[in-house]
Symmetry: C2
Subunit: 335 residues, 2 copies
């Protein structure tokens, strides 16, 4: 059997080793052609693994002595050459792993991936692309860039669209993905220069199904499969939506448990609330691929718990299994 | 008694005259020192008023023959000199009204207000400032600019902060409003040049209580009173949050009425849901002042219903009553 191998940087996230290791073991049980290389402090990892049951043939440890901290910047990638993050990325570069996943600091992760793995031919900027829930059951939307960049050109956005298009087809199984441009209004003249440039380029691109400008209020409508944006706007939109979903669920919980009578009634609706909460639980969408590289790289939230890491590793596995990089290369017509 | 007079452009919004006129009559009952000048087609307005009961001394009609349509652009302000929108703004300019309110097209409204009423001394850009709900009961947050501009400088953002500061004190009664800068992270180096410029300027401004960068997920937390942003990001954030609130409430409604048993239980929780829905009902927040002018100008959503127009007119009235323009002038130290 050909194994799918993930180099998993288990250091440097907010919640320590435990949720990362637990998530990996859980996924190893669920996918029997998966191998995980834990990259981090060998003693600590072994200490933890002692208490667990798992298939020893499918776990390796790559010992590292340094950690990229949340407060570290881009330059620390060069300073901490023996960090778990750098080494995990290098394992992919050297062909020891098929993909890298990390819950560590974002800016060093992007820099490390770009320096070590390099971007695809013709791709100037990478993009974070989370998979987000919509109100249509079973339907998700890909938002990119969700924050790898601060500024993007229209040409960047067109590349994002092409890459996401390939991803949506192969990973989500969408036949002809609908692609929208996140903007302040529907008319083609809306927004800034890079919006109009992106609109023009995507309209002319016959390989994608560009449906025009889409307002942020439509993000979760399920009407488009892919929403393209510059990194700053995409990041702020993502966080606004996550925050609102969280706040509103909290408010509803408070309102329905305010009195004894309400609590009693609410008991009978627990399943209903759980359904909605599960649909809009961003923990299931905590991981995002860093698109535009020669290899597969996934980033999980710094504050990831077991569920979040599990979702990220699952997506990483799916990307390997479906040979997503070659599909993207074909879409971009590069080698 | 000194009357507060609103010139109300009742043409050109999506839902016709009825919700606009009904909202005005409702507020006239609630505020006995309010006068409304309906600006629009006299025959249509009179036809409608025939069926209503109201204080005839406090309603006037200013007949106009043209309408700025939703599809009209900035230049149409000059082409349609006899439109209800232009005439309503002129009534303020000529001292016949204390403020203007409209549910018409946004771009022409901004252009008309800027051309006719002019911006305050030293203010280069106007800003839309909706009053938005937060999870803290009774606490709102002012977001500006929510879309009057596409691009803003750091200096624009500092002016927005000063104006919003005066507004929050006098209209919301907040003693020392906390002001945040909408950004992709909390560190002062985050974002684009204009963010860093705004951060610097606001930090140095001793007349305001600047608390630093705030991420969009904190918008509804109630931790800040004012959130300053460029117009494009502000607009996209506003719509993302509105859309998410609407989608989530819809999802919950669907989930709790999916089965007969759930419907039965949900009946007992109707009040709870209504409480949350009322809190996050953006109809109560559909109006936004266009800040930065020499006079008071409010814009209501193009799709406003009676409740939305009522909220907008109420805020317009409060702005007149509290002499908000002079308070802003003092804050900006201009005449």
């Amino acid at each position: 059997m050909e194994f799918k191998t993930i180099a998993f940087d288990v250091m440097g996230s907010d919640n320590g080793l435990i949720p990362a290791v637990d998530a990996a073991i859980k996924l190893l049980y669920e996918r029997n052609d998966l191998k995980i290389i834990f990259v981090g402090n060998e003693i600590e990892i072994n200490e933890l693994l002692k208490t667990k049951k798992y298939d020893k043939k499918r776990i390796e440890i790559f010992n590292t002595t340094e950690v990229i901290e949340m407060t570290d910047g881009i330059m620390d990638i060069r300073r901490k050459k023996n960090s778990s993050m750098v080494k995990a990325i290098e394992l992919v570069k050297n062909g020891k792993a098929d993909a890298v996943a990390s819950g560590g600091a974002t800016a060093p992760f992007i820099a490390g991936c770009v320096f070590i793995l390099k971007t695809l031919e013709g791709v100037k900027k990478t993009a974070f692309m989370p998979v987000m829930p919509t109100i249509k059951t079973g339907k998700v939307v890909l938002l990119l860039d969700a924050g790898a960049n601060s500024e993007n050109s229209g040409a960047d956005l067109e590349k994002f669209a092409s890459m996401a298009n390939a991803y949506a087809k192969v990973i989500l199984g969408v036949v002809d993905p609908k692609i929208g441009l996140l903007n302040v209004g529907e008319e083609k003249t809306k927004g800034l220069d890079y919006h109009r440039e992106a609109y023009e380029l995507m309209s002319k691109n016959s390989s994608i199904n560009f449906v025009g400008n889409v307002e942020s209020r439509e993000l979760a409508s399920g009407d488009v499969d892919i929403l393209v944006s510059d990194g700053l706007t995409g990041n702020i939109t993502l966080k606004a939506i996550e925050g609102m979903a969280k706040n509103l669920m909290k408010e509803i919980k408070a309102a329905i448990t305010k009195t004894f009578f309400r609590k009693l009634k609410a008991l009978g609706l627990r399943k209903a609330f759980k359904e909605v909460a599960a649909k809009f639980d961003y923990k299931n969408h905590a991981g995002a691929i860093l698109l535009g590289l020669n290899n597969i790289a996934f980033k999980s939230h710094g504050s990831s718990d077991m569920q979040s890491f599990h979702a990220t590793l699952r997506m990483t596995y799916e990307a390997i299994k479906n040979d997503v990089i070659n599909k993207i290369k074909s879409a971009l017509k590069v080698n």
